[in-house]
Symmetry: C2
Amino acid sequence: MAATINDVARVAGVSISTVSYALSGKRPIGEKTRQRIESAILELQYQPNAGARALAGRRTYILAVTEPLRPDTYTPAHMAFVLAAATAARAYDYDVLLLTQDEATGGLHRVTSSRLVDGVIVLDVLAEDERAELVRSLDVPAALVGIPADTDGLVCVDLDFEAAARLAVDRLADGGHRVVGLLGHPPSVYARGSNFPLRFREAFVARAAERDLEVRLGAPERTIAGVREAVAEILGPDRDLTGLVMHCEDTIQMRALDVLCEAGLRVPQDVSVISAASTFDTSTFTPPLDVIPLIPAESCSRAVELTIAQITGTVDPRVELIPPTYVDRGSTAPRRP
Amino acid sequence: MAATINDVARVAGVSISTVSYALSGKRPIGEKTRQRIESAILELQYQPNAGARALAGRRTYILAVTEPLRPDTYTPAHMAFVLAAATAARAYDYDVLLLTQDEATGGLHRVTSSRLVDGVIVLDVLAEDERAELVRSLDVPAALVGIPADTDGLVCVDLDFEAAARLAVDRLADGGHRVVGLLGHPPSVYARGSNFPLRFREAFVARAAERDLEVRLGAPERTIAGVREAVAEILGPDRDLTGLVMHCEDTIQMRALDVLCEAGLRVPQDVSVISAASTFDTSTFTPPLDVIPLIPAESCSRAVELTIAQITGTVDPRVELIPPTYVDRGSTAPRRP
DNA sequence: TCTAGGCGTCGAAGCGCTTCGACGACGGTC
DNA sequence: GACCGTCGTCGAAGCGCTTCGACGCCTAGA
């Protein structure tokens, strides 16, 4: 059997409560006593029993992470968020319970009302997401990574996709480009009401209008054929497009570069290319791409932080947008006259 | 506050233990009593407190899943296993705690000795894997998905990669092919001692020798250039290779098909191609590929099953190999004379 | 008719921890 | 020198659940 706090107390020659206070630091402990307790813990390899701790302390030190990997979600990107959340949680001594697909709502209900978890991190939020509703009605400490249509009463964190889109457009506009394209996600992603692709696209179009640019939008299927078609369309019959922003999965981006290459267009001499809101490493692409990175660790650690803050106190509902940054890798150039 | 078993007992007009037995089914309960209890539960929206249950019942109904997404692991495939494990666990009313990277061993120790989890699923096992050691010494209910070098005392489940390799070789040999290639993983994967790629490759070479075939091995980098180079090398200066087995990630496989295509080689007329031990869908490739699938749900649900069997009783250490199957999609043909 | 023995229920004893109140021993204050 | 506050420690009361033993009751077998 594993050692209990009782064993520790006996070996150290103190009472149970003293051990508990030594562990939690909630009351001062004498130096000698503390040392005896510490060596008893080491000797016995004591680890507090999680169940007992949860029962008595009303804290499980577990966070639920819900990520409903939907039929056409792109796994690597989404998993990056799950991992980032797990890592961030561990930094606060929290563990992470993974809630998937079918369990996204039912499971949320179950784990919160059975007090299995202290809080919830909601990933991959749709504009209309039942989990947002649920979290609101459950009134459980939670943070959403992503922005639902109705953020009332919720704590949300996300990259500022609108600002990212503007940043990309401005970069091209400042370089003198007049015709710019956005190579986006597959059509099904937009159809689903997935949140950030829409936000990005709208802001892109709006800023391009402000800057007086001509805009071409593409939503390619993932296949090489799909990408070829979308890129051809964006380039236009006269190939007058000189600025391309890609806000899509890495496979599509890589294929798009292949397509540009086979069309004899050089980056950045003929076309300036920017990879936007990407979770992957664009420095290994051929050529390496300028990128406005979407860093899972950033939003997830903030989400974890805010959730734990709710557990230990009170946090006002809010939407926190993380400002985008621009990484220059030489894939953009001023438009040639 | 959430309702407790006490409230249920009061509302139903029975004792606490009766409610508990009604819930667990461990003792017979009268029909009328059961109904009163059930409606009390519904009325109060009662959910047993997880902590109390864990403390009293010595079961948390949580399984740890460790997946140390290493620098160069290929996320989608690995996540498929995590998800499969989570889904399988839920089928047995177990939840899943995600242990990642840095926490793979330390975390395992922590969650088992604090009794946070009832058992452990170990994913992505290396030939020499400290987690295998740990599980052995911790003596905790566990199942490994993958086969470490030393399986002594462990419960392991995996696809029979050796048989899969033989199946692929035999298919080509039976079709009259004399020169066959294996397009494998990037070199770093083999270098790391990752388990199944090595097992597959060795069995492939051995079977090819038995069938008197000439073998060419490739371990391409993921880039299009890397794939191009590896494929060219495998094809040989005379392009006399007619059978190709691919045991690698989907991007590499797709790129290899692109490369064959641009080299003017048709599948299956010029080259027969088999995708081996693949977790992804090869039916959407151009052309669709024959595949010996590696089905995460299969091995994971068996692993979960075996772990839970250990929790509730005893299971003899064992290595269970799942026999491979062959799915014909028309990407192989007899060798043309 | 008497007695096993199964059924249905209850009370009580924990499970291992946190936390509140209490209490003696000090040191500082007026 | 009496008083107060702080420090360091202890005992005990739970937290909400499972499970063991006990105890009527009813049926079946002898």
